[in-house]
Symmetry: C2
Subunit: 428 residues, 2 copies
């Protein structure tokens, strides 16, 4: 390291520590802020986004230019792109978060002990949340708004490909905070794309950061798992499976498989692999594959799938457990329910799996014995979504096992404490 580089690293460290300290300060203020002020800030942010439409789109156009020069894939470009309707949808998303009930202060449970002690379990904010995410700029608004609603201060670190779009949207959130008289440091953005800043967020700021929420692919998650010295609420990739049991109603299976794969290919609840019972080879397999290919999906299959339709490409080992986020699907014929569950346990990411079956017993075993965050019977995996669950917005689908699993909304961004009211009790 040259002396100049050392100075830059020290400056960055100093800058990040300031960011952390002011986030902690904002979090302390937020514990005492009422619901109306938080909602006013959110409404102000939504208004600011509409007012700043031209600025946001201009920033996004620069990000898109750069992304095209870097030859990003079509799926990534689609995730990055903003237009008037997407900005409007983002603003509406922030408004819908304002409309959600405030989770903070809610009494989760209360009971009285024989000795007269009255115990309450009360929701409190988590504190300071660090969110590390990739591409999609609306995450800046969704995550910032959800953290504020749940009384948390947040430090956002988006991907470099969306840096300008994120900055423009972040400015609107800060405008909302300022207008409502809340600390502007309640929603901060790491102001540099220097990757060293991520390391500092993960390692050096344990005093200031209570939990890290990574949203992204395997590379990001692996880095976070390796480097983090604070708790992590992981949002691993969605390697979702749809399993068509021999008892499945063919028409229902056709609708569900096409929807699960193709409704939107870039979301984490999109099905990436189709499993079909061997007993349904003649009755279901060719029809399901034909539907997918006719709808523009590339199918990579095992030998039986290739025999069912000449257009099927051979699947290789890495196709099992791959998150395409694109119009590509892996198709495998399994012997039975047990074999299907075994495949899912081996290749899934614990996100979302669906079974299509008329056999209720098989369905119940699938729902009970598999251990992904979301298990569906006779429904599309694309329902893996906080909004569709009726939880309002979400910052993602947690695939870890502690704190929260599945859609992470405002309520999942809280912790709790116990309040115990007595009248002089001492322990015998």
């Amino acid at each position: 390291m040259t002396t100049a580089e050392k100075h830059m690293a020290q400056d960055l460290h100093h800058q990040m520590m300031l960011l952390g300290r002011s986030a902690r300060g904002a979090a302390e203020v937020l514990t005492r802020v009422d619901t109306a002020s938080k909602n006013a800030a959110l409404q102000g942010a939504a208004d600011a986004m509409r007012d700043s439409l031209a600025t946001i789109l201009a920033a996004n156009a620069e990000d898109m230019d750069q992304a095209r020069r870097r030859n990003l894939s079509g799926a990534l470009l689609d995730r990055l792109a903003l237009d008037e309707s997407r900005v409007e949808a983002t603003a509406q998303g922030v408004e819908s978060i304002a409309d959600l009930p405030d989770p903070v202060g809610g009494v989760i449970a209360e009971w009285e002990r024989p000795n007269g002690l009255r115990i309450q379990r009360v929701r409190v904010p988590l504190g300071v949340i660090g969110i590390i995410y990739e591409s999609r700029p609306n995450v800046t608004a969704d995550a910032g708004a959800l953290c504020l609603k749940s009384g948390n201060a947040v430090i956002l670190r988006g991907g470099s490909e969306a840096a300008r779009s994120n900055a423009a949207i972040h400015a609107c959130l800060v405008e909302g905070l300022a207008a409502a008289g809340l600390p502007e440091t309640a929603i901060q953005r790491v102001p540099t794309q220097d990757r060293a800043a991520v390391g500092m967020l993960l390692r050096d700021m344990t005093e200031f950061v209570d939990v890290i929420v990574p949203r992204g692919g395997k590379g990001l998650i692996a880095r976070v798992q390796e480097d983090a010295r604070v708790p992590v609420m992981g949002h691993l990739e969605g390697i979702c499976h749809t399993y068509v049991h021999a008892s499945a109603d063919l028409e229902m299976a056709r609708k569900i498989v096409v929807n699960a794969k193709l409704r939107r290919t870039g979301i984490c609840g999109a099905t990436e692999a189709l499993l079909v019972d061997r007993a349904a080879t003649d009755s279901h397999l060719a029809t399901l594959i034909g539907d997918l290919i006719d709808a523009g999906c590339e199918v990579r299959g095992d030998l039986t799938a290739q025999q069912a339709d000449a257009r099927v490409k051979p699947a290789v080992e890495t196709d099992w457990g791959k998150e395409y986020l694109d119009a590509i699907i892996a198709v495998r014929v399994v012997e039975d329910l047990e074999d299907a569950m075994d495949h899912i346990r081996r290749h899934g990411s614990g996100h979302t799996e669906a079974i299509v079956a008329e056999d209720a017993e098989a369905a119940e075993r699938f729902l009970k014995e598999l251990d992904s965050a979301i298990l569906l019977h006779n429904a599309s995996t694309q329902y893996a979504d906080g909004g569709e669950f009726g939880m309002g917005a979400e910052i993602g689908i947690a695939t870890g096992r502690i704190h929260a699993r599945g859609p992470v909304g405002a309520e999942q961004l809280t912790s709790y404490k116990y309040i115990v009211r007595g009248s002089g009790q001492i322990r015998p």
Copy 2:
């Protein structure tokens, strides 16, 4: 490293990986085991402890001999010591865990969406839990039993000072598992005191361990935070405060202060510091200090406390925020509620704090604005205990902010998943 040392390290690594792999296998079996079998294993373990009383006490006598030779403190010796009544209490503790409701499979919430999807949030085990703890041998039984009850496999790593006692108690747990036909690897113990094994548990077994629960002092927690590559549910030390507000009823305050400090000094809910309002200097301070000293407690106080009673020793800066776990207390006079809360925020460990006050408004502010896991009004901090909360046994009081806070019982050792039942729904 010599070649011999390298071989030993490789052997240990191999041994730990085997431990992890068999824990994962046991965890998978446990997801399908019914409540009756788990309870039978627990009853069998309790019976085995009674049958093995002589063996357990002989093992404990060896641990105690060694501890005395190492000049362990009286408080530590007391935590380590077993006798017939403590073993009986431990066996009864295991039986009481058998009597608890089984948290696994319980439906936490269920609702129906307008599109007809029926959603359930269902409790599932966490998976494999690693528990790292110090001294007290009954933790082996409590932690093993609670993990089994909640359907988790567990890897126990107790302190070297209690190694023989822990091994003897662990053998009883395994006897119970075997008698009930459950995998003996559901409750495993790291079979070596080699500290490298802890590093492997924290770092190298991410595939096999879902969460680490450390129970111990600052040193252990710091090491775990630095080294862990899996989620941690931290049980930090209990630097508990009792704050006597100017409005406190003197007789109530006297009872609570003595109980909070002295009922048992070695538990994490014992009060370590007493804060008294300056306005109560004449009315309360000398009486409270006198009670403590008369009961055999060493008092280390600030200048005002020293003036109140000549027997008070001067407190030094490190007395604030110190976990004595002994008959010693730090006493400080504070200006008011705000000053008391400020002191607690600065020096507390987020465990348990109590206010004694007749002024309801002051009490409510203390309960609302402080953010420890447990906040009490007019009751002893020694109530910080899962049993006293009516939750049955606990493996400790979690002081982290994610997943569980406060007493960690069987329910807190579970995660959840979503089960969604449809009739062919596809997402528009």
